[in-house]
Amino acid sequence: MAELLQFVITGITVGMVYALIALGFVLVWKSSGVANLALGQMVLLSSWFTYGMLVQAGLPLWLGFVLVLIFALALGWVVERFVLRPLIAQPILSLITVTLGLAYFIQGLVVFIWPWSVDALPRLFPTEPVHVGPAVVPQQYLWAAGISLALFALLSLFFRYHKMGIAMRATADDQMAVQASGIPVTRIFSRSWMFAAVLAAIGGVLMSSIGGITFGLVDTGLKAFSVVILGGLDSFLGAIIAGPIIGLAENLGGGYLTPLTWPGVREVIPFIIIIIVMFIRPYGLFGEERIERI
């Protein structure tokens, strides 16, 4: 029982971080129709940058985080301006492949600057485990979940009331109409990439404060894909709900299926979920099914 509760709590909390990273994906997809397959690498790069600021440069926490945020904004801007902007209105195949090229490049860059490939961030959160009923949960998980929840709340307020947020939603809805009413669509694209990069950076810091900085962070990006597939590519709500589901499935499956199948089943559960969703409900739980006309 304690075991079950523990799996459930860690699953849901980690799932929230997945959902946070997935939100960045949904944002870019909705506003510009680009599938960002370099998400995992952006998470990885931001985590290493945090390491560089906090450990290598020895900056205080607050300054380090401000710099990480600035870095993430710059990363998003650069990626949109120099990689995606020249490819506006190209076929989807090019748009997907270019992010793959980007993923390759960023991964190389990370190896280039931090070749030792495994390290740990300094302690960000208190580490004493918390007792929830019979279960013992490491405190970082709860912090990560709390921060993710706070960010969800902030983001939904932003999209509801802020002018930029409303413009972003409008772009997602109808690009032509937005352009006609004088909103610079390219700036919206740029902003959505910057947002996505910031979300990836925060997700990366949260994940690496739990599990250290490894290439496993790239897999976190891949898990975010299974979140968006399950939730529906164009649904914020879907991402927020599907995140904890993926986290739960991963932890419960890893906990209870490993004795029945082969070890490491935890790592492929998100991918098996992707395949199942593809067969049963390809547009996800909350995704909008597009009807095409010729």
């Binding site: 492949t97 090229g101 190389g108 030792w116 490491g264 790592e267 395949i275 593809m278």
Partner: protein
């Protein structure tokens, strides 16, 4: 089809010919002679590179049929190659089947696995399909790593030499003939497939699948055929790879390798027969240059930097090359080659 000045087609046979003029034939025969005498004067190292390029061309041609002609983006190609490699290794090594049978069954097994993961393509496309092929990649590699009784798991699996009849392909030179022979057959097959009913159906599906369906093309059938052919060739390439390396480990078939295959057909020129050849040669040679010369040079020159930093150069350059090609020359090297040929034929009167 642009022809040299003064050459006209007067029959369908002439119009369909791959080698139209005597010069074409002379160049082709010259190339073949050059290629098939290569083991006599190339060093073992370069023969090895050539063998790897040949295998890569076969796999990239498969991906080009699937992605370039039929428009179904697959980012799990290395996974399907792995299926073929392990199928062939297990059949010949553990069951003792002859190599030709192992080769063909490797293709069939990979093709069938590809068809299973291609089933979602009926309902989804674009990004959804890309993600499901990534999922296929990870599931396949996971199965390979843990199905120890067949694949050897993390330890790896040693593979016997390929042999046909009494002939054993145990040197780079002998393997060169085997691999280049199959590569030539593959290219010939791909060239002809593109102009049959099936190939034209693929192109119609790529350009607009709804319109293709309205025209009476059975989408489900042709998409599955595309997945089967693409993954069949991946399986053949995998089998050759297994018997060429004599050792298999799942590390050879990573997601990065899959991405590289997509990069190859983009760089070479998507939806052309020449594309995969150019792309495979370009990427594999670039890889050789970067890992054999540039990386050791940088490691030796900048010793004050942390050890191993230069291993990041190769992926950085690959990523950059893919991005730059997509932005600056989305039609790839094959298109550049066409331009060159046109300019060469008209030179010096280019009007």
């Amino acid at each position: 089809m642009d022809l040299p000045a003064g050459t006209r087609n007067y029959s369908y046979a002439q119009d369909m010919a791959i080698f139209r003029t005597k010069t074409h034939w002379a160049l082709f025969i010259g190339l073949m002679v050059l290629l098939f005498t290569a083991p006599l004067y190339w060093s073992n190292y370069w023969l090895g590179v050539a063998n790897l390029i040949g295998i890569t061309i076969i796999a990239a041609t498969g991906l080009n049929i699937l992605t370039g002609y039929c428009g179904q983006l697959s980012i799990g190609h290395a996974g399907f190659i792995a299926v073929g490699a392990y199928a062939s290794a297990a059949l010949t090594g553990r069951l003792g089947l002859p190599f030709p049978l192992g080769l063909v069954s490797a293709g069939l097994v990979a093709g069938l696995v590809g068809m299973v993961f291609g089933i979602p393509s009926l309902r989804v496309k674009g990004f959804y399909l890309a993600i499901s092929t990534i999922a296929a990649q990870f599931i396949i590699i996971w199965v390979i790593n843990h199905w120890t009784s067949v694949t050897g798991g993390f330890v790896g699996l040693s593979v016997p030499y390929a042999s046909i009849g009494g002939l054993t392909f145990d040197t780079e030179g002998k393997q060169f003939y085997l691999i280049m022979g199959i590569t030539a057959l593959t290219i010939y097959f791909a060239k002809n497939l593109a102009r049959t009913r099936v190939g034209r159906a693929f192109v119609a599906i790529r350009d607009n699948d709804l319109a293709a369906e309205v025209m009476g093309i059975n989408l489900f059938r042709y998409k599955l055929i595309a997945f089967f052919i693409g993954c069949f060739l991946a399986g053949i390439a995998g089998s050759l790879l297994a018997h060429w390396m004599w050792f298999l480990s799942a590390e050879f078939f990573s997601l990065a390798e899959s991405i590289l295959y997509v990069g190859m057909i983009i760089i070479g020129g998507i939806g052309t027969t020449l594309g995969p050849i150019f792309g495979a040669v370009f990427i594999r040679l670039l890889d050789q240059v970067l890992t054999q010369w540039v990386t050791p040079f940088l490691e030796g020159t900048f010793t004050m930097l942390p050890a191993g930093f230069a291993t990041g150069i190769t992926p950085m350059v690959f990523g950059l090359v893919i991005i730059l090609f997509l932005i600056l020359e989305p039609r790839g090297l094959a298109h550049r080659w066409q331009l060159f040929k046109a300019a060469y034929r008209l030179w010096p009167f280019s009007y």
